[in-house]
């Protein structure tokens, strides 16, 4: 018998394939010309990421970021690790920039108003119209801009000077009262730097410093470093929160003083007075503070006096205390006074110089007062403004309607909006000019003296949108008006300015070209400054009242707290589905708005979670579903800003409610800030109910081994990883019912008897994670980072309502102790819950097709294209971290899909997915190590969640390597694994217990 192919078989095969080829060849309807990628652009290697340094443009903090670009598309943002503000981390809003860049609702081309409609025009026409209108208006031109970088700001000023008009800046979230208070207290018109890391006692009178306040990422890093327990010496900074509502920042506090809104000034001064009585010096404020006794302050704040005395003890014991004012949510009619009181307390307690630094003041902080815009509105209403140029601000949305912005702007002859996406204000314009996103354009930022960050385009402009950078447009306008500003493009303009900076700084690093190249690579430059650090209290140059402010509305009503959303900020983040879908860190609600009401108040009113109530203030009314929240005072209700857009793209429109409608348009004196805490509201049930789009099932752990804590006093007393005195018992696979005690060290997982497929524990790494829950603040940056990295789709409000969120990390939030009735410990536990990559995984054996299986390198693999969708694995997952593609969620409108990470599969309908430990990053590092002929180094693999975590709570690595950081972190008495003792899953994720100052019931884990 001859082996091989027979002649006949060969002919058969030939015939069939030939016919097949013919059929296939004929079936092509359309012939497309394909071009091979023979000569790629110089900086693009297909499949290899290029990283660009730039500056995040989301808030005024000015974080330096790295933009990951693959094949010419920006696909992910990460904090620039060398940047002193971001320190390598990034918040959820920063990540979401990409969705503003690729937002399908961006303006596609210049548009001109024609009646109620906009009609597209070309750039030449548009610039002509703009030039003519501004020429006609001349000095009756006004520029209304939001916060912009120093170069663009300078250019605007130059252009405005050229025209002869005026420039007005408006920021919805403005810390004007803080800046004014600092000016009054220390004579420095700036916002100092707050050093959380050095603080050994932190008092916040409401400032949401890890959410929106000034520089959240930097604050969170410092806060986590000081507030997270130091395992070497057991030191831990106490954080006391004083306010009527626990925001996310407050949930991270150790003690909560639920003081009445508006009583901050009295309490702070009374504390200062008590310190002065103990020998501290309030300088020129000695006489003022004498008027404030603890008893009166306690009376005003509605808390017992002895708890305030306790606070005085803490303060006088502290060497580096840090006291923060009320923040934007607490901007009431005496907000400057409250901030001043906090500053006085800082000075009295010795914080100035130790935790409050004036040599690094926050030059970029958003502090422009509303009064500037107020003046402009009056001018517009008076008809003296003929042309208005709008850029980067949305007052039609973010101001209370009572401000009359919409009415006033009608009196302006010509309105041009330079925006990248239509919003409520741009809708009022006559001409809309599409602006570039910050990731496509040049710019810079100067977040603090001497720290300059360059903003360079990370990619060519998204071709779907015929946009022009605002800077280029202004330069072109200037040249059309006959002015020469010394630059053709804004790129040149920025370079020129940096060239001057370079020269002024004494030309470091040699020539400017060398310096510039280095700046572009590093993303920043630190230049010498002469900022003075020394300040002292000065006598106030104006009289202020520190008393509780007046509130509008009925005395019986509830005080309305309108707070900035940690997801949307002032509302500018609302057009990104990632942020809409991100469950609010406090309420865990996505997509829609809610009103926070204390459970007791709610039951008095006869309303439950999800019942829709009407809030009525003297200025307006809104309807909102109730979220019962024990972290808000019984006499207070709270609503987040940022939702309820009428025009801001498909992801924002009609989602939620804008609470600004309830507020008066009033200026705080003397700062001129908009008053946010201004009114009481009547809460009236409507009898209607809705299902909340929430991911929260229960807020109680029922003492299950999920989120245990340990009291600081108990640390170091051998309450180690003892499994509550139980040995882990392992039933031998085939050996019958003979329990075999096993050593339960996580380094040894998976233990004998566990089922782990082809994994060879002796040969391979054991990838493992450690999460320090004493550092985790629940900010949820990791959730969005994971979405960006892993192409996790959005599902929308209806799907979240049904319980179908797709996030790979669920930020669980359990209330242990939250008491709004009296001062005392507050204990909220956060558990970032992702796939635990169990050594003995319950999901693996139940999958009928091996889609869930143990990879040879010890991970829980999920093979998307093998999955048939029985969902058995998810049913059997005790951690409930497997999520299912109920529909084809990944089909997003062009160009949103440009953001997808090409290293990660985009999942189709009907398959299960879950956290992969960023296996693509592990592979990449392993490949690189192989190419370089070495082993993978510890710390080289950084999953997206760890990379993003501003609190530095996550450590990842090979736990089997005793030298690795994760192995060392896990060698800690606080280490436990969720549910492990209950069901023996042998997870690869280790948690370190939260540490509390108050005693906690010891849950054996």
């Amino acid at each position: 018998m001859s082996e091989g192919i027979k002649r006949r078989d060969f002919l058969k095969v030939l015939g069939v394939t030939g016919a097949g080829a013919g059929l296939v060849g004929c079936s092509t309807d359309r012939v497309e010309k394909l071009m091979p990628y023979v000569t790629p652009p110089e900086d693009i290697t297909p499949g290899v990421a290029t990283w660009y340094s730039t500056a995040c443009g989301e808030c005024s903090a000015g974080c330096g970021v790295w933009v990951k670009s693959m094949d010419g598309r920006a696909i992910k943002l990460e904090g620039n690790p060398n940047h002193p503000i971001s320190g390598g981390a990034l918040c959820a809003r920063g990540h979401s920039s990409l969705q503003a860049l690729y937002n399908p609702d961006r303006v596609t081309q210049p548009m001109q108003r024609n009646g109620d409609e906009f009609e597209p025009i070309d750039w030449e026409t548009a610039e002509g119209i703009l030039t003519n209108a501004i020429q006609d208006a001349g000095s009756a031109t006004r520029f209304l801009s939001g916060r912009v970088g120093p170069s663009l700001s300078a250019l605007m000023d130059e252009v405005v000077a050229e025209i002869g008009g005026e420039r007005v800046e408006y920021e919805a979230l403005s810390e004007a009262p803080l800046r004014e208070a600092v000016r009054i207290a220390f004579g420095r018109d700036e916002v100092p730097h707050f050093d959380f890391e050095s603080a050994d006692l932190i008092l916040s009178f409401g400032a949401d410093f890890i959410e929106t306040w000034l520089s959240p990422v930097e604050h969170m890093r410092g806060f986590a470093r000081s507030s997270g327990v130091d395992d070497t010496d057991g030191s831990k900074t106490r954080f006391v929160f004083l306010g009527s509502r626990l925001n996310l920042t407050g949930q991270n506090a150790d003690d909560w003083y639920p003081i009445r809104p508006g009583s901050e000034g009295a309490v702070a001064l009374a504390l200062a007075n008590a310190l002065v009585q103990r020998g501290a010096d309030a300088g020129p404020y000695n006489s003022i503070v004498q008027g404030y006794s603890l008893s009166a302050a306690a009376e005003q704040a509605g808390i017992p006096q002895d708890s305030l005395e306790e606070l005085v003890d803490h303060l006088s014991a502290a060497e580096a205390p840090l006291i923060l004012g009320p923040g934007v949510a607490g901007q009431h009619r005496n907000a400057t006074a409250s901030n001043l009181a906090a500053m006085v307390l800082n000075a009295v307690s010795g914080a100035i110089g130790s935790t409050v630094h004036f040599d690094q003041s926050l030059t970029g902080a958003a502090t422009r007062p509303y009064s500037e815009l107020f003046g402009l509105i009056e001018e517009m209403a008076g008809g003296s403004v003929q042309a208005l140029v709008l850029h980067g601000t949305n007052p039609a949305y973010s101001l209370p309607p009572a401000a009359g912005f919409r009415e006033a702007i009608e009196g302006v002859g010509f309105k041009v909006a330079i925006v990248s996406q239509m919003d409520e204000t741009a809708e009022l314009a006559d001409l809309v000019l599409p602006d570039r996103h910050y990731l496509e354009s040049w710019g810079d930022s100067n977040p603090r003296p001497g720290l300059w960050t360059v903003q360079q385009p990370a990619m060519r402009p998204v071709p779907h949108f015929d946009s022009r950078p605002c800077g280029d447009l202004l330069l072109s306008l200037a040249s059309r008006l006959g002015a020469d500003l010394g630059a053709e493009t804004f790129h040149d303009y920025v370079r020129n300015r940096w060239s001057d900076l370079h020269a002024d700084a004494g030309s470091p690093v040699g020539t400017f070209d060398v310096f510039w190249r280095q700046v572009l690579r590093d993303g920043m430059a630190e230049l010498p400054t002469d900022a003075a650090a020394q300040v002292s209290l000065q006598s106030p140059d104006r009289a202020l009242t520190f008393d509780a402010p007046a509130l509008d509305g009925d005395e019986d009503g509830h005080v309305l707290v309108v707070y900035p959303s940690s997801r949307f900020g002032d509302g500018s983040g609302a057009n990104r589905p990632w942020l809409q879908e991100l469950p609010d860190p406090v309420s865990k609600i996505a997509w829609h708005s809610w009103v926070e009401i204390h459970p007791d108040t709610a039951s008095e009113m006869g309303v439950r979670k999800g019942d829709i109530v009407r809030l009525r203030s003297p200025h307006g009314e809104v309807e909102l579903p109730v979220f019962t929240y024990p972290g808000v005072r019984a006499d207070t209700v709270a609503v987040a800003m940022g939702s309820g857009h009428e025009s801001y793209g498909r992801y924002a429109e009609g989602k939620g409610v804008n609470p600004m409608r309830l507020l008066p348009a009033e200026q705080e004196q003397p700062s001129g800030a908009l008053v946010h805490l201004a009114t009481r509201v009547e809460v009236e049930p409507t009898g209607r109910h809705r299902r909340l789009a929430t991911i929260e099932g229960s807020d109680q752990t029922y003492d299950r081994p999920i989120a245990p804590a340990v009291a600081l006093a108990e640390l170091g007393q051998g309450h180690g990883d003892d499994h509550g005195g139980y040995d882990l018992q392992e039933l031998q696979a085939m050996g019958g019912f003979v329990p075999v005690p096993t050593e339960g060290r996580p380094q040894d997982y998976p233990l004998p008897g566990a089922q782990y497929g082809d994994y060879d524990p002796a040969e391979n790494a054991r990838w493992s994670m450690a999460i320090d829950l004493d550092k985790c603040t629940g900010c949820s940056a990791c959730v969005t980072a994971c979405q960006a990295e892993n192409n996790v789709a959005n599902v929308g409000e209806d799907q979240i309502m049904m319980g179908r969120d797709l996030h790979w990390i669920r930020m669980e939030r359990y209330y242990e102790t939250v008491d709004a009735t009296a001062p005392g410990p507050v204990d909220v536990r956060f558990v970032p819950m992702m796939c635990q990559h169990c050594g003995n995984a319950p999901c693996e054996p139940v999958c009928p097709v091996y889609a869930a299986y143990h990879t040879p390198d010890g991970l829980n693999g999920q093979i998307y294209n093998r999955c048939v969708g029985t969902r058995y694995c998810a049913n059997n997952c005790p951690y409930k971290v497997r999520v299912f593609n109920w529909y084809g969620f990944s089909d997003v409108p062009e160009p949103m899909n440009w953001q997808y990470n090409p290293d990660v599969t985009v999942r189709s309908e009907g398959v299960m997915e879950k956290c992969s430990f960023c296996v693509q990053r592990i592979r990449q590092v392993e490949n690189r190590a192989t190419v370089e002929g070495r082993d993978v180094r510890d710390g080289e693999v950084v999953p997206a969640c760890q990379q993003s975590c501003p609190a530095e709570a996550i450590v990842f690595g090979n736990i089997r390597d005793p030298e690795s950081r994760v192995a060392q972190v896990v060698e800690n008495e606080r280490t436990y694994r969720v549910l492990d003792v209950l069901i023996n899953t042998q997870p690869a994720v280790n948690y370190l217990r939260k540490v509390t100052f108050h005693p906690v019931d010891d849950i054996h884990v």
């Binding site: 109680q700 319980g803 179908r804 969708g869 058995y872």
Partner: protein
Amino acid sequence: MATVTEKERGAQTHPDVRKYAEVNTDILQMLSRPGKWWWILLGMSIAGIGLLAFSWGNQIINGIGLSGLNSPVGWGAYITTFVFWVGIAHSGTLISAILFLFRARWRQSIYRAAEAMTVFAVMTAGLFPLIHLGRVWHAYWLFPYPNQRLLWPNFRSPLVWDVFAVSTYFTVSSLFFLLGLIPDIAAARDQTQKGTLRNRFYHLLSFGWRGTDRQWHHFAKAYLLLAALATPLVLSVHSVVSWDFAMAIVPGWHATIFAPYFVAGAIFSGVAMVITLMVPIRKVFRLEKYLTIRHFDAMAKLCLVTGLIVFYAYLTEFFMAWYSGEDPERRVFWNRLFGHYWWATWIMLTCNGMIPILLWFKRVRHSIPALFVITIFINIGMWFERYVIIVTSLSHEYMPFAWAVYRPSFTEMGIVIGTFGWFAFWFLLFIRLLPPVAISEIKEVLPPPMRPKRRTKEEVSS
């Protein structure tokens, strides 16, 4: 006391049936022209199939998201109804095989219909593993077919066991069903006109049956063999189905009692369904002679026994949850009784625990309307039992933060209702096309026809 022979016992079960010929006439008249109501019912069942096809098609095109399922409740009405139909499927084989082996002579007049019900119920149940898949077009991956990539299903997964259990059960029960039919189909064949469609159909299914001794001999052997083969399946299939749950670590599922508990429940629901179906058949076709009160009494007793086992299993579950001392386990059961799904649990307890208590009373067991109503309650209760086990457990697992509520969607309801149409469709065809009562076996238990005893000379003379 004289021993009662089998024949006499048979005569007791069917005291009103006198002649063999009568059996043929009575049973085969059922296959005559159907009436108006049959057509109406058939129309309704086809409408049900239409609903099923529409809902399922819609779900395939648009995505499994049309169900109300979510995380963490990955299984809901679909798997509930799957288990429900598999459970229904159990009584047929129990009655035909196990009772055959145990020589329980009251089975003759009901076993045929029960068997048919089994086959159709398995056919219905078999749809659900497909319906509930996220990607039904890849369902064949669950079968161990040879392929180049040497990919096999995961034999450790209870779902793969399920595939084998249900397909084996379907094969064996339909073989058993068709085999038992042969002599009766031959009888029907002989009554139909040659050459008609019906005649040819019977011709095909009767496999050339002529009723020779030799054929009867082989038939009896084969029947016995298949009965012996089917018997373990009665116990194994539903045990395997129960392991879909018991093998998982979900609190409320992970219990060793599940296999016997599910088997008892399956027989409970299956017998109840047989009663529910037999009552109208008996009435419509005037089969009172064949389906006597004694039959219903026996089935009601079977219901009562299995019902008590099931109720005992409920109590055991609750006890074990408390006794375990584990909060996740305890809370699941507390939540069953008083949580979001309390109503489902109380329907289950009422229908399966309380109402069957009535069956203790002979008067109830002997009242056909009462039995009809009670068994409908049992059917409802047994559907809710599975719903309670699946949904309440999944919605309330280890991580309290991930607890969620599941509500069945319209698509799910459409499919669930549609499968009742699918089942009814086959059953309606069955009662008009195949002899729904076993002609030959009833004859076996009738007193053999005898000539009248000749009078002796003495009798004549006196």
